[in-house]
Amino acid sequence: MNLNLKKGAQILHQFGRKIADLDAPSASTPPATTTAEPATTTTAEAAQPPTPRDDWGVLLVKLLAAAPEDVSMKLISCLDKDVLVKALRDKEDPYLKVALLLLKK
């Protein structure tokens, strides 16, 4: 197999025209990183970046609430029940408290 130098040079020439503005940085767009983008979430709340006040329990609950149901079920099955209950108990939410009482029943 040989390299087609003539054709390659032609393609490079055309390609160069297409990407001539490659080195013009777009001022409006923030720099992209090569790290993986966070998965899109279903709720607006979950899509917001975590604040420093969010403790691990809140983050865990947010993750479980935002993930697709089958993923959440798989994750929950991997977690210790006491860990989840502890995460939920810390939240001052009457609905959660009732839910926990129901679970205890």
């Binding site: 197999m1 160069g16 992209a32």
Partner: protein, 231 residues
């Protein structure tokens, strides 16, 4: 503004230096950088930058396909080299053909790219090729490790001398505290991060004050003040 990062021996740190140059220019100085992974033996730069598999710099010549340009940052782009590695392993190319394909890139890049282009290459490129690159105004950065400072044999010493003569700058990598001033541009050995990702590697390298100074003075040398201003 094209820089060719090359060496005589393998594993001396060409790819790491290319990543560090790109990081310093694109991240610290916000200068546009185009990286071309022309190491047809390994394509480690493409892997370090986690570039997805796709048409690379050799594809126009190999398959008649346009190369894929990976956007790493808004001012940092990479053309990968997986196709060249495959071709080098599978087909009976003469090195001259690969050199000519790379020469075509060197000829075309300035037409569409005004930023700094850094070309990471395979070791032991032919001297005739490097001479042609110099004639085109390409800056040649030769990377060596401490072996270059030891006189292993007269033949090896002559080989180094021939490469040094064609280089705009010689960078000696992996120096210790005692050999840090053995050459004008030396890079101290640093602990490599567990995650071999370009940003982590470059950051770790440039965290060292000596290395940071080396990279800055190296850039000043190969891109004089009119073209590259160190802020």
């Amino acid at each position: 503004m094209i820089t060719l990062v090359t060496s005589l021996d393998g594993g001396v740190g060409k790819t790491t230096l290319s990543a560090a140059l790109a990081y310093h220019l694109a991240v610290n100085k916000r200068q546009p950088v185009l990286l071309i992974d022309a190491d047809w033996e390994k394509a480690e730069l493409s892997q370090l930058f986690r570039a997805g598999y796709g048409p690379g710099w050799l594809s126009p010549f190999l398959k008649g396909e346009e190369p894929q340009v990976h956007r790493i940052r808004d001012v940092l782009h990479l053309v990968a080299g997986y196709d060249a590695v495959e071709a080098y392993q599978l087909y009976d190319f003469s090195i001259g053909e690969l050199e000519k394909a790379l020469e075509a890139w060197i000829d075309h890049v300035p037409a569409f790219y005004r930023g700094v282009s850094v070309v990471d290459t395979a070791p032991t490129l032919r001297l005739s090729f490097l001479r042609r690159m110099r004639e085109r105004g390409v800056k040649i950065v030769f990377v060596a490790d401490v072996r270059a400072l030891m006189r292993v044999s007269d033949i090896k010493a002559e080989q180094y001398a021939a490469y040094f003569k064609l280089s705009d700058a010689v960078v000696v990598n992996n120096t210790t505290f005692f050999t840090r001033n053995a050459a004008p541009y030396t890079l101290r050995r640093v602990k490599m991060p567990k995650d071999l990702h370009w940003e982590a590697v470059a950051r770790e390298m440039l965290k060292n004050r000596h290395n940071r100074k080396t990279v800055e003075t190296l850039l000043q040398k190969i891109y004089p003040a009119a073209q590259y201003a160190v802020t």
